[in-house]
Amino acid sequence: MSMVQFLFYLMSFIALASAVFVAATKNLVRSIFMFFITLLALAGLYVLAMADFVAITQVVIYVGGILVLILFAFMLSGKENLNYIAQQQNKFISIGKLPAILLAALFLIVLVNVAINIHPDSLPWIKKSIAYKNYIQPDAAMTENIGVNLMTRYLLPFEAISILLMIALVGAAHLSRKEAKP
């Protein structure tokens, strides 16, 4: 087993185990901090898939931005919330959660079946890309290429998403402002 494979299995184990912990625990604060570990392990997986720029973006936006936002929302929503959570029964498998587990397990079976039966490494376009050497080598520096593509080929989606981001931020600020007393 090579080093890359070992790192892949280690990272995916950390990601999946912490995700299971996030789903299983009752304590919301612990769940949020384990989510942090899931996101960092996923950034490691992106590096192993030769997407270093996406990994850095993941760390900056998800870990730095979204997680802090979630923590803020959690802390702003008061202590009755905590009391309510403490009263909940804490079993991963209980009769009330059976439909959810059934749904997730069925989805898992379907998705894993697809992943195995489609043989993704022998899809036609991937074979063609390997034949033309159009895949990313481990020593390639892709950030420059991403920047050029962002300003040429993907300029319209880039502008659209920038406008959408601005609309979302203005909307969030509008939603969360204090109402004036009538």
């Binding site: 890359v4 995916s12 990601a15 999946l16 299971v20 996030v22 919301l28 769940s31 949020i32 989510f35 899931t38 996923l42 997986l45 992106y46 898939a49 997407a51 720029f53 996406v54 993941q58 936006i61 998800y62 931005g65 979204i66 936002l69 929302a73 702003l76 929503s77 009755e80 309510y84 959570i85 959660k97 439909p99 959810a100 587990i101 997730a104 989805f107 898992l108 998705l111 894993v112 697809v114 992943a115 195995i116 993704p120 376009w125 991937i126 890309s129 159009n134 895949y135 990313i136 892709m142 290429n145 991403i146 593509n149 993907y154 989606p157 998403i161 981001l165 979302a168 909307g171 969360s176």
Partner: protein
């Protein structure tokens, strides 16, 4: 070199954990975390397949777009959660029932 099947299976498991969280939780913030897990599973697939697209970079580019979209959704969703908490004093989606008849 890691095969694409491995990436797809990891992403499938992650997706199902997110799905389980969305269906079973009684807390809007945990449902939001479940949605983020599902988005991350999708992004993992995009990135894994984007390795075979060196010139156009389609997979990585749309992974970036998906991350930005997730940030926008989270900001709006958290603002909504705070408003809901202000009005109902709870963030259990099962107890917010003014739209029911």
């Amino acid at each position: 070199m890691i095969s694409l099947t491995d990436f797809m299976i990891v992403s499938a498991v992650l997706f199902c954990i997110g799905l389980y969280m969305i269906v079973s939780r009684h807390n809007a913030i945990q449902i939001l975390i479940g949605i983020e897990l599902m988005l991350n599973a999708a992004i993992l697939n995009l990135v894994a397949f984007g390795r075979f697209d060196r010139m156009a970079n389609g997979g990585q580019m749309f992974a970036l777009f998906a991350i930005v979209l997730a940030a926008a959704t989270t900001a709006v969703a958290l603002a909504i959660i705070l408003n809901v908490y202000k009005r109902y004093k709870t963030i259990d989606p099962g107890k917010i029932d003014n739209l029911k008849d």
